[in-house]
């Protein structure tokens, strides 16, 4: 085996593994999204945060760099310096479209594969393991999707439904995997949302919930798989349309 091949093999292993700085960054984002540290507030000092997360200061600095890059915090230098929480940025449709068109067909298909592996499995398990209290929580997030109007509201209600399914499945790993997937997808699914898309998503979530409540594992799994494929297909179609548009303006 050549050195290059070895490196390639290793990088393949790393794809699915979240690095330490990314993990710390994700947890900090969760803390900020929970509102534990409000907009404009200062983050605790680097050494304090490093102790809190049990990581080296270097790792924490890398995590802060990720947050800065994503516009979650801004760092001021000098005596009264430090990292401050920025107001959440309203991402434009154009930005999301640019992100989508830069993705490859393979990437989208692979995302679909992983989401099915995680979310559909979780739904199947939730059907056999969830309690009535969890059914009520799920119901709450179907209603939240109905009530949602802005893109970030739609996305949050949608993401929460899937995360709560994993919680109902009683799996810590599936819950983490689902949270990571939802964070990765961001608001992509909700670019240029139509009423039809919204009502379809609500109907699909409701059908999954019904299967979970009825304890129909296979049905819950199959419905979730179909729901995910539907979503990714829509993204693929949207991407093709965007690329086509770009092509035609080039000519």
């Amino acid at each position: 085996m050549t050195q290059l091949n070895k490196v390639n093999r290793l990088s393949l292993l790393q794809v699915s593994q979240e690095g330490k700085p990314e993990e710390v960054a994700r947890r900090l984002i969760e803390v900020i999204e929970l509102g534990l540290i409000g907009v404009g507030e200062q983050l605790p000092s680097e050494s304090e945060l490093a102790t809190r997360f049990g990581v080296a200061t270097v790792t924490l600095r890398d995590a802060l760099a990720i947050l800065r890059q994503r516009g979650v915090v801004a760092t001021k230098r000098g005596r009264n310096g430090g990292s401050f929480v920025c107001a959440p940025v309203e991402v434009s449709d154009e930005f999301l479209k640019a992100r989508l068109s830069a993705m490859s067909s393979l990437e989208l298909r692979d995302l679909c594969d992983e989401q099915i592996a995680i979310s559909a499995t979780a739904a199947g398990l939730a059907a056999s393991r969830s309690s009535s209290a969890q059914h009520q929580r799920l119901e709450h997030f179907v209603t939240a999707l109905q009530d949602a109007t802005t893109r970030s509201e739609l996305r949050r209600a949608d993401a929460r439904f899937h995360i709560e399914i994993a919680v109902a499945a009683q799996s810590v790993r599936l819950t983490h995997a689902e949270m990571r997937l939802q964070a990765e997808m961001g608001e992509l699914q909700w670019i240029s949302t139509t009423d039809v898309q919204k009502s379809t998503a609500i109907a699909e979530h409701r059908a999954i919930l019904q299967a979970v409540v009825a304890g129909e594992s296979n049905l819950a799994r199959a419905l979730t798989e179909a729901h995910i494929k539907e979503g990714i297909k829509r993204l693929m179609d949207l991407r093709f349309a965007l690329l086509e548009q770009q092509e035609s303006t080039l000519q």
Partner: protein
């Protein structure tokens, strides 16, 4: 060698499990008693307690968390709204991160915020409040606090005849499992522990998955675990493991 009769195995195993559970509850009772002492003293002076009056719990809490019982992920007291002069909702709570020293738990008590952490609706708070008895909630995947599969133990705190709050502990099931499973392995037959909703908390056979809802065969022997308020049972099946 002393051989125990088969029919006593279930009882002995139940006794051991109860001892383990009681140890956690005893620690919470100690915490609750400390709160009551201070509440009574302040009441005698005609003062209403403030959040600062709870700081005296810190050494006890830190001692618990730095002890050998590494299954305690976090512990402290959670106050009934209106009990403190300076804060509406409050908790004196510390937890042990995956590494490093014990740190205080921060939660969002801003009612306007979407992520408002309203513990007044959470079973580990409401159940001891309503029944006046010890409670175990879970296991459940804790999405916000700990990112673990958690059992929430709680006991009510009553001072001067009224409900003040709860003393509680988050027990990480992946650590606690060691203790429970070792007890269950003393049984020759397949056995598992189920909670009030019928979910398996621990088992001594790969035929029974933790977190699954248990279907209870008719021939199973069921032993209710004490304290009875927790609604946990030890189930023994007529099948050798």
């Amino acid at each position: 060698m002393i051989t125990t009769p088969m029919n006593d195995e279930l009882g002995q195993c139940a006794q051991r499990l109860e001892d383990i559970l009681c140890k956690v509850f005893e620690q919470l009772d100690t915490l609750a008693a400390e709160v009551v002492t201070v509440w009574n003293a302040l009441d005698a002076e005609g003062k209403k307690p403030t959040s600062k009056d709870l700081a005296f719990l810190q050494p006890t809490i830190e001692e618990r968390l730095s002890g050998n019982d590494n299954y305690i992920h976090g512990t402290g007291v959670v106050l009934e709204p209106g009990e403190l002069a300076d804060q509406e909702m409050f908790l004196e709570w510390f937890y042990r991160p995956s590494s490093g020293k014990v740190i205080p738990m921060m939660l969002n008590f801003n009612r306007q915020s979407e992520s408002f952490y309203n513990y007044q609706g959470m079973p580990w708070f409401t159940r001891p409040k309503l029944t006046g008895e010890a409670s175990i909630e879970g296991p459940f995947v804790d999405l916000y606090g700990t990112e673990l599969y958690i059992l929430a133990f709680s006991v009510p705190i009553f001072a001067g005849g009224h409900f003040v709050g709860v003393a509680a502990a988050d027990i990480a099931l992946h650590e606690f499992d060691q203790l429970l499973t070792r007890c269950l392995l003393r049984m020759k037959n397949e056995a598992f522990i189920i909670n009030g909703e019928g979910r398996i908390v621990a088992a001594n056979s790969a035929n029974w998955f933790v977190g699954n809802m248990a279907s209870r065969p008719a021939a199973a022997k069921v032993h209710k675990l004490k304290p009875l308020s927790i609604e946990w049972s030890l189930v023994e099946l007529p099948v050798p493991r």
